[in-house]
Symmetry: C2
Subunit: 339 residues, 2 copies
């Protein structure tokens, strides 16, 4: 335990800097915020005093007085998802220049938790909110609508945004993947995904997927769900289960790349001919896939771009319409047969 300087009994205030430098509080404030004209001499005195005292301004007081908060609330379901860190990257990239900073809240896909996270965040009067998904409790929606700040709902555009939405159509993503699979000649198709009632985006993908199958006169020959645990391992296990239960399945559609990767490793280990005996596809386009022995077919979720566009709207750099749709491209990879 090393305490280099004596700890102040109370946190330092502008007044302390003012007294130490012999400059009025107001001018100290101006110097510290680079606002208005201050002579080089006074500026130096102030900076010197602030530095030696180790003064850190109190943003609570500043925000209350100026009615301005440079925080942007970001509400996401999970951090361990591999997709949200990338969204954060996009958000940070854009916000970095603007003086705004993101504050992250995690909901774990629980609507109640989402509601309270939103409530807490709004109570800090942020300059904007970025919230994953379009489905929220009525109370959460109402709070967001009332807040009087820009709200951007991200990831999904299949629905009605409170204010703005930036994302892809998961319904369409599912449909397009199904169409590609059908076009490649696969007929006995199974779905493997998460059992999360509140993962609305995964649900929409599956809906779109099944609709496209139906249009081609097909139905899923099997489906398998999981929750929790190592996604890679679950992918192996679920794949094993489907293959033994439905041996003549010829395509496995996974709700995310991680379980898809597990499935791919399993199929290869079993000596199955991918993509001829069996085809595979995931969703998200995670970087991870680049390192697999064979590249898994997938569809990019446009994560960084979504983060960027959302932040631009909050920062007022984009006067977008209510909905901004991004169009992911299907990456065929090596796990869908080419006809």
């Amino acid at each position: 335990m090393t305490k280099s300087s004596p700890e102040p009994r109370h946190a330092l205030t502008l007044r302390d800097v003012s007294e130490a430098s012999g400059v009025s509080e107001m001018t100290v404030s101006r110097v510290l915020r680079n606002r208005g004209d201050v002579s080089a001499a006074t500026r130096e005195k102030v900076l010197e005093a602030a530095r030696t005292l180790g003064y850190v301004p109190n943003k609570i007081a500043g925000a209350l007085a100026s009615q301005r908060v440079t925080l942007v609330g970001v509400v996401i379901p999970s951090l361990s998802n591999m997709v949200f860190p990338e969204v954060m990257t996009g958000i940070s990239e854009v916000l970095d220049g603007t003086g705004l900073q993101p504050v992250v809240g995690v909901t774990n896909y629980l609507p109640d938790r989402e509601e309270s996270v939103i409530y807490e965040m709004l109570s800090w009067r942020p300059s904007g909110m970025i919230v994953a998904g379009l489905e929220h409790s009525p109370a959460a929606r109402a709070m967001l609508a009332q807040a009087g700040i820009p709200i951007v709902e991200i990831m999904d555009i299949d629905g009605d945004p409170v204010d703005h939405a930036v994302g892809i159509s998961h319904h369409r993503a599912g449909r397009e993947m199904a169409e590609a699979i059908i076009a490649a000649g696969y007929k006995r198709i199974a779905f493997l995904g998460t059992q999360m009632p509140n993962d609305f985006r995964a649900k929409k993908r599956l809906e779109g997927f099944e609709q496209a199958l139906a249009k081609a006169g097909l139905t899923l020959v099997d489906r398998e769900f999981y929750s929790g645990g190592s996604a890679l391992l679950k992918g192996r296990e679920m794949t094993a289960a489907v293959l033994s239960r439905t041996p003549d399945v010829d395509f496995l559609y996974y709700s995310n790349d991680m379980i898809g990767a597990g499935g791919l490793l399993y199929c290869l280990a079993q000596g199955l001919d991918v993509p001829n005996r069996i085809g595979l596809a995931g969703f998200n386009g995670v970087e991870l896939l680049d390192g697999l022995p064979r590249k898994l077919a997938t569809m990019d979720a446009c994560r960084t771009e979504i983060g960027r566009k959302a932040a631009e709207i909050i920062a007022g750099k984009a006067s977008q319409g209510a909905k901004v749709e991004l169009f992911p491209t299907l990456q065929t990879g090596d796990t869908i047969r080419v006809r």
Copy 2:
């Protein structure tokens, strides 16, 4: 765009609730905070008014008046690391019951950025700070020391904490892994890791590792570094590079599990006999490994536990000493030969 209710010109205040309910601001405040005795009747009136108005308290004002902020700053180098999300899980678990909430800041392993993130966070006067690592700029250290709040530096305990430290000894982790490798009879050992001057923990592991090798009269026969990109892919590439440059290498020590996994997949694809022809080990003990065709030897970084313990110190639930050392166990997996 759906606006269910008319947007207020200004955010609602206690006064609005007071007027709507015919109860004084003070009593409204009491009701909303569950403080002091308020008659059931008034309480109901107030709650009713607050609910219908959609009032969200202003924590800025509340915090200024009460000099109490329920925020805990968490400063970490990266989100995409797979390790920090788990630390966050541990932190949230403990903080959830306490009325404190974590606020995350990301530094990308940049000291300057760390300094400014810490400065920004402190300016919100949090109740405590959890900061990854023991190495900070002098200014950052000084700010933390001055803040007058509990500071917990996490992940590492090889060094001098500002206040408290919770973590493992990375020096020891490297040493123990080396000892296990040597004990298994490997002799021509290579290191593969990240090229990040500011990843002090990886650096300490390598130091401990090399010291143990030296003690056994060994030195690294090769080393390979990378930065950026898909870790899994980099693991493959680096492994290929080392194997072709130093064909008689018999052990590959990776600085993290993700590149280790890439290396493992590569070795298996090449038909190399793991662990007899060549042994492999990583670091972190990530869940991901459970899904690999063979289990990679690794060492747990105690991530969740570190988060938990750190949060307990902040929450005042633990009157720990300055340093709390956690002891990770070496997981031999299937990639170190058993003698």
